[in-house]
């Protein structure tokens, strides 16, 4: 976002992807129809625009939809760019049209998909290939893999595809920017990812060294380390209400493909022709007549850094956003007024030249103001305030008051009964007030923070209330949450309620692994023959404290300056902000872990130790905290020595003089917009660049919805 990304050119990565994409489009000759998976639309928008697509023979662009008949146009060629989901096969088999179908699968073709096509008897009629689209640079410091539901897949389904794709993507990055000198991380899936990275390196050398072109790996001069944060180590943060502008928009409207749908007032209908909506006309497919009819009231607002206003306010705490918007509005007014001061013809010319930009900004400002007014209504509601109070009590004290518990029970009991008429529900609104997702967020938070200290009676009470309100089918949901430690894990009755549901036979191995904190050299981490892979867990293996969250809160200083918080949020912090602003006083565990592992001085200062310069000490000094957080500690040093000939004379990282400027932070299992904002804030204020890579971007609701999803 800021200008200090020199040396890390992700635009180059994007340029490569752009070329690949056009090559894919060109692979079908002549005019064609392009049918794209909904969740890939945003990516394709990033890679190309409709004019370019037309140059490459694309006649029409459709979103892949159920029972949509694409073939009524005159062209013979259809190019699908979709993910290999079996539901796509079920829903999109057309009958008896003699068209030429080309299917490109993102990120790769899979056995299951082809088998499904074969079972349908259409495999022979399709030309299938893959389009290895892995990390897409959405912004200059943000790479997204686009694998939805990655957390549930890893922790519930045992499906590690997203880890595999992540490691492939990271290998691509390593081949461009050099080996990460050190891989650090926390979490069981993080461990799997780091093992994958080392094994893939071995595999690549095995393939490439057979040709004499192989030159060997070089250590990165850009990145000092890769830090992998597994969502499983910090389940608390995604459950909390996000308080940044970007985060709140996601909570309220659910950002898809980097855009939201908002309602626009009638007077702004005339000025509808602005950047956001024009990009809609271009890339958003002309799906059906109905959506076009509605487009008068609905508007898609594109949320990216091309929108200067948004770039300015997205990471800011929402309480400052109103002030900032009015400032921007005033500035625009001043610029408009400047036309009266124009004296010479040249000055008038200059003004007219800038007019288009001004108008665009004006209409963008309008959209942001209307989005903000929805958010203000939301944040001032009784529900928002009470829920936020519960969250903040849990975060700062570790418990809630009696009346808050009663309130929680109340919203559970009334949760599934009509609350507002569905006709009044605001357009584009994603959040359901005190619906299941909102309630489960609070309940899970309560259980997570209280840990083992929940009384059985209390737990059964909540369980039964939830079932009475939302239905018996949720015993499945609660069992999933339970297996993640998010739903009632009390000590006494563990034998009765099966804490061994996930871990039956692996307790012996887990101990060995957990104690395995020794720094490992890259080549030796492969312990061959260890076939029985552990299932990942979100519970700490060997906690040394009974109140684990309380301990972590103190040890990692999750609630800095609770006392002088009010005093600090002065005008200065409006501009710069504090990390703790982002979640209203609480600093995410995930973020603290990144700070620990990247050797951020701030963490050491806090403990009265100043190490002088930033150094990567790995887990040293944080063993206690690490022991009370779920998952394994990852710490691997990579050196070029292994696996390549002739490059052994390149010095080890410790002796190299150059200073790497950046750390790649990989969030496995999803990241929230607020965590992104917090990392960016760290980048700015702590003089070290963090580049973020993630499997997907989540919010509390989408996180809970993963748990209530039905496997199909």
């Amino acid at each position: 976002m800021e200008a200090d990304t020199e040396g890390i050119d992700f635009l180059e990565l994007k340029e490569d992807l752009k070329q690949d994409f056009l090559k894919i489009v060109d692979s079908v000759r002549g005019v064609k129809i392009l049918v794209v998976d909904e969740c890939l639309l945003g990516v394709i928008d990033q890679l190309s625009d409709f004019a370019t697509l037309q140059e490459h023979g694309v006649q029409k662009l459709y979103k892949l939809e159920k029972e949509n008949n694409y073939s009524n146009s005159e062209t013979q060629n259809v190019l699908y760019i979709i993910r290999p989901l079996l539901s796509h096969v079920r829903e999109n088999i057309e009958n008896g049209k003699s068209l030429s179908y080309n299917v490109k699968l993102v990120p790769r073709r899979t056995i299951l998909f082809e088998k499904a096509l074969e079972d349908m008897g259409v495999l022979g009629e399709l030309v299938i290939d893959d389009f290895p689209l892995l990390f897409v640079p959405i912004e200059s410091d943000l790479l997204v893999l686009n694998s939805e539901n990655s957390f549930k897949e890893m922790y519930i389904d045992g499906d590690y595809s997203s880890i595999f794709y992540s490691s492939q993507g990271l290998m691509d990055i390593q081949s461009k920017f050099g080996l990460f000198p050190r891989i650090l991380g926390k979490g069981d899936c993080a461990q799997i990812l780091s093992e994958n990275l080392i094994r893939m390196r071995k595999e690549i050398s095995a393939v490439d060294s057979s040709s004499s072109l192989w030159t060997g790996w070089v250590l990165s001069t850009v990145f000092d380390s890769l830090i992998i944060i597994d969502r499983g180590v910090d389940l608390i943060t995604p459950l909390l209400t996000q308080l940044t502008y970007h985060g709140l928009l996601d909570e309220y409207f659910n950002i898809t493909n980097e855009s939201i749908e908002i309602a626009v007032e009638s007077e702004s209908k005339t000025t509808n022709n602005f950047a956001g909506s024009s990009s809609e006309n271009n890339i958003n497919p002309t799906t059906s007549e109905t959506s076009r009819a509605l487009s008068k009231k609905k508007k898609r607002l594109k949320l990216d850094d091309r929108d200067a206003i948004f770039a300015q306010i997205k990471g800011k705490s929402f309480m400052h956003v109103g002030k900032l918007l009015s400032q921007i509005s005033k500035d625009l007014q001043v610029q408009y007024e400047s036309r009266h001061n124009a004296k010479s013809v040249n000055e008038v010319k200059k003004f007219v030249k800038g007019l288009g930009k001004l108008q665009t900004e004006q209409s963008l400002l309008q959209s942001h103001i209307s989005a903000t007014s929805s958010l203000i209504k939301f944040t001032q509601s009784e529900e928002f305030g009470k829920n936020l109070d519960i969250e903040q009590n849990l975060m700062s004290v570790g418990d809630i008051t009696k009346s808050q518990l009663l309130y929680l029970e109340q919203i559970i009991s009334l949760g599934n009964l009509w609350y507002e008429d569905s006709s009044i529900v605001e357009m584009g609104k994603y959040r359901i007030d005190n619906g299941l997702a909102v309630i489960l967020r609070l309940v899970c938070l309560y259980f997570l923070v209280k840990g083992d200290n929940i009384k059985k009676k209390n737990y059964e009470n909540i369980y039964n209330l939830l079932i009475s309100s939302f239905g018996f089918q949720h015993i499945i949901t609660f069992q999933r949450l339970y297996s993640l430690g998010m739903f009632g894990s009390f000590k006494q009755d563990s034998s009765l309620f099966g804490s061994s549901y996930f871990f039956k036979k692996s307790s012996a191995t887990s101990k060995r692994r957990a104690s395995d904190l020794v720094l490992k050299e890259g080549s030796e981490t492969q312990s061959e023959g260890n076939g029985d892979l552990l299932l990942p867990s979100t519970k700490p293996r060997n906690p040394s404290h009974s109140d684990t969250f309380g301990f972590i809160r103190r040890d990692l200083n999750l609630n800095p300056k609770t006392d002088n918080y009010e005093a600090e949020s002065s005008a200065k912090t409006v501009v710069n902000g504090e990390i703790s602003d982002i979640y209203g006083g609480y600093v995410p565990i995930s973020l603290r872990l990144v700070q620990c592992l990247s050797g951020d001085n701030f963490m050491f200062d806090n403990r009265g130790r100043n190490t002088g310069s930033r150094t990567l000490t790995g887990w040293k000094g944080w063993e206690d905290a690490a022991q009370n957080i779920a998952g394994q500690n990852v710490d691997v040093k990579q050196s070029v020595l292994y696996g390549a000939f002739g490059s052994s004379n390149i010095p080890d990282s410790s002796t190299t003089a150059f200073k790497q400027q950046a750390t790649l932070v990989m969030f496995l299992g999803g990241i929230t917009y607020s965590e992104i904002a917090a990392l960016r804030l760290l980048s700015r204020t702590h003089n070290h660049k963090y580049i973020i890579a993630t499997t997907d971007i989540i919010n509390g609701t989408s996180f809970i919805n993963q748990m209530t999803a039905v496997d199909k």
Partner: protein, 659 residues
């Protein structure tokens, strides 16, 4: 030109620019390779030396056609007539070589090989560098440098003098000497020439040593392979014409693994291929048992970087050594290669482990699908259940493909009670068409859960659901058909989520009969009863299902407000002190916009709750009064700002200042 044919022999020069054609008439033509230009024509048989041969060998005659034609370098053509070989130059000059038996020709980049039953000769044009150094009377700088070195060996002071005299072209001289060493076959001469070059270098410290070092490396290899035990008589030029790997391959064909390995080390090129070829031939030839063979192989191969074990394992497999194959495959670094091979030799367990270890889900599915079609169902289940990840992925696959019966079977065999019941429940949420099916699904879920004590609470929930279902069925009969089904707002029906309104879904598949209760949750059912005005049934339901007092009140209040039955609401509030407090009564009324009703309950609320509530319904006077009572200054100020009544405002201002 082609009309001059027929041709008996055609040979193309190593550079590809010239073609030698031997006509039937015995005429040798050299033309450009595009057949446009004739360079020279000769009749080898009319050469004087040929006449002499024909005297010795009566078989020779002028009409005779040659045995073989080949280029010698790019400069001359060799023609073999049996025991005599003629080398014919560009301008008709010729040299004759005689042999004891018929000679065959092999063209090389820099010369020609002549092979007969006893000897192997190599003829090439003397390289320029050698001419420069050794030509008699040569005054080239290289010759002088060599000469200077000879003087040095003889401890003559002239050495220094000579070198100084060629100071200007010393660099050239050194390079020429190095080149000459490369072209020289005699090892001692090579040494002299290299020493001469090295001697010259001492006078020219800035001279680039790379060429010298490379030449030494190359000569070392050349002299080794030229040795009699190997017999690869190649010149430097030939050696450089091919990449080192192909020379390694030639050594491997001769089973010279150790030498090949040493050369790899000498040249710093990967030696994986050498090891792999060695291992393959070891496996093919060895008579040892598989275990000791494995030990031998492992001993040598374990440290080799980036060695692919696939070919080695394949060799072991074709030699019918299955145990060795398996063990070797486990050493293979690339999972995508070894898993299919492991599958092909029937190692399902091992391939499953390897696939899972690779982290590549595709490979796991490959194993699952292959073993599903190869193994009996029992064996297959045993295989899948041996690994948690595999078992989870198999479940996912079955669910995606709709193979519920297979999955049910699997869960049953593996005693996965919770998952069995999960299947039945999801079927209820998404599939079962009738109430009867719905009921039987729940019964089967209860049965599975009942088998394990730790699912106590879940079993209780399902039993309750069954009871509820029976209760609902009874209600359906009692309610008249004419009464419409009530829409109770539900958590939005998002596709693919568990929170669906089952009642709504059941009604969609049902024709004619409309279910008003079946499929609703407990609270929804209670709510419906109150909305229908069946208050007695509602309170019966409360006792029967042990609905907590608070929850019952909350639902009843909300439903009564929705029904606008404020008489009943008041009755509820008056009969006994409600456990939820009057604040809930008030706020539900406010939410419904019934401010007048709300005010009744506000009066009953706690003192500190009153002001805010009054304020909300716009009863500003009451709000101010109550606020004053509890000294809520902030609210007082707010009321002062909001009110239109000047007396109230003034009153508030004075009161605020008093406090």
């Amino acid at each position: 030109m082609l009309q001059d044919g027929p041709f008996s022999h055609i040979s193309i020069s190593p550079s590809g620019k010239l073609v030698a054609l031997m006509q039937k008439s015995g005429k040798l033509q050299v033309i450009s390779s595009d057949f446009q230009k004739l360079y020279s024509e000769t009749y080898p048989t009319s050469l004087p030396s040929f006449e002499k041969s024909s005297v010795l060998n009566p078989n020779y005659n002028r009409k005779m056609l040659p045995l073989d034609v080949a280029w010698c370098g790019n400069d001359s053509v060799a023609v073999s007539y049996g025991t005599s070989v003629f080398l014919i130059g560009p301008f008709g000059g010729s040299i004759k070589f005689d042999f004891d038996s018929n000679a065959m020709l092999v063209s090389e980049v820099d010369g020609v090989r002549i092979l007969n039953s006893q000897v192997h000769d190599f003829i090439q044009k003397v390289p320029d560098s050698l001419i420069q150094v050794f030509q008699i009377g040569s005054t080239s700088s290289a010759a002088l440098l060599y000469d200077a070195y000879e003087h040095l060996r003889n401890e003559s002071s002239k050495a220094d003098e000579i070198v100084r005299s060629i100071k200007k072209s010393l660099g050239n001289a050194i390079d020429t000497c190095i080149d000459a060493a490369g072209s020289e076959f005699s090892e001692s001469l090579q040494q002299y020439l290299l020493r001469a070059a090295s001697f010259g270098k001492t006078f020219l410290p800035e001279h680039n040593p790379t060429k010298f070092v490379e030449m030494c490396t190359n000569l070392r290899i050349l002299n080794t392979v030229r040795g009699t035990s190997i017999g690869l008589a190649i010149s430097l030029e030939e050696y450089l014409a091919l990449p080192p790997e192909s020379w390694i391959q030639r050594l491997l064909n001769r089973n010279m693994y150790f030498l090949a390995l040493k050369i790899c080390e000498h040249l710093s090129i990967p030696s994986a291929e050498v090891y792999s070829q060695w291992a393959i031939s070891k496996i093919q030839q060895s008579r040892k048992d598989e275990d000791s063979l494995y030990e031998i192989l492992l001993n040598k191969l374990s440290d080799v970087p980036s060695l692919s074990f696939i070919e080695i394992a394949e060799a072991a497999r074709s030699c019918a050594k299955p145990k060795l194959t398996t063990r070797l495959l486990q050493l293979e670094p690339i999972a995508a290669n070894k898993v299919p091979l492991l599958l092909s030799i029937g190692q399902y367990n091992l391939s499953l482990d390897e696939a899972i270890k690779s982290g590549n889900v595709e490979l796991v599915y490959l194993v699952i699908l292959t073993s599903y079609s190869e193994l009996s169902l029992g064996e297959f289940f045993r295989l899948i259940s041996s690994n948690k990840v595999a078992s989870l992925l198999f479940s996912k696959y079955c669910k995606q493909q709709g193979k519920y019966d297979l999955l049910k079977n699997y869960y049953f065999q593996e005693d996965e009670f919770f998952k069995s019941s999960e299947l039945a429940i999801t079927a209820n949420v998404f599939e079962s068409e009738s109430m009867e099916k719905f009921k039987s699904n729940i019964e089967s879920a209860i049965e599975s859960l009942g088998k394990e004590a730790r699912y106590n609470i879940q079993a209780k929930v399902l039993n309750q659901e069954l009871k509820l279902l029976n209760f609902q069925i009874k209600l359906e009969d009692e309610i008249k058909d004419s009464v419409p089904r009530l829409e109770i707002f539900n958590d939005q029906n998002r596709e693919g989520l568990l929170n669906r309104n089952i009642n709504e879904r059941l009604n969609k598949t049902q024709q004619g009969k409309v279910y008003k209760f079946v499929g609703s949750t407990l609270n929804q059912t209670l709510c419906s009863l109150i909305l229908y005005g069946l208050y007695a049934k509602a309170s019966l339901m409360k006792t029967e299902f042990q609905i907590p007092e608070r929850a019952y009140y909350l639902i009843k209040i909300r439903s009564l407000v929705k029904r606008r039955d404020f008489v009943e609401l008041e009755k509820l509030g008056r009969t006994k002190k409600p456990p939820v407090g009057y604040e809930v009564f008030a706020s539900e009324c406010i939410r419904a916009g019934q401010f007048q009703e709300a005010s009744k309950y506000i009066a009953l609320c706690d003192e500190h709750e009153k002001p805010e509530l009054y304020f909300e319904i716009g009863f500003l006077h009451e709000a101010a009064e109550c606020a004053l009572a509890v000294k809520n200054v902030e609210l007082l100020k707010k009321i002062g700002r909001e009110t239109n009544d000047p007396t109230l405002r003034a009153d508030i201002e004075s009161r605020v200042s008093a406090i």
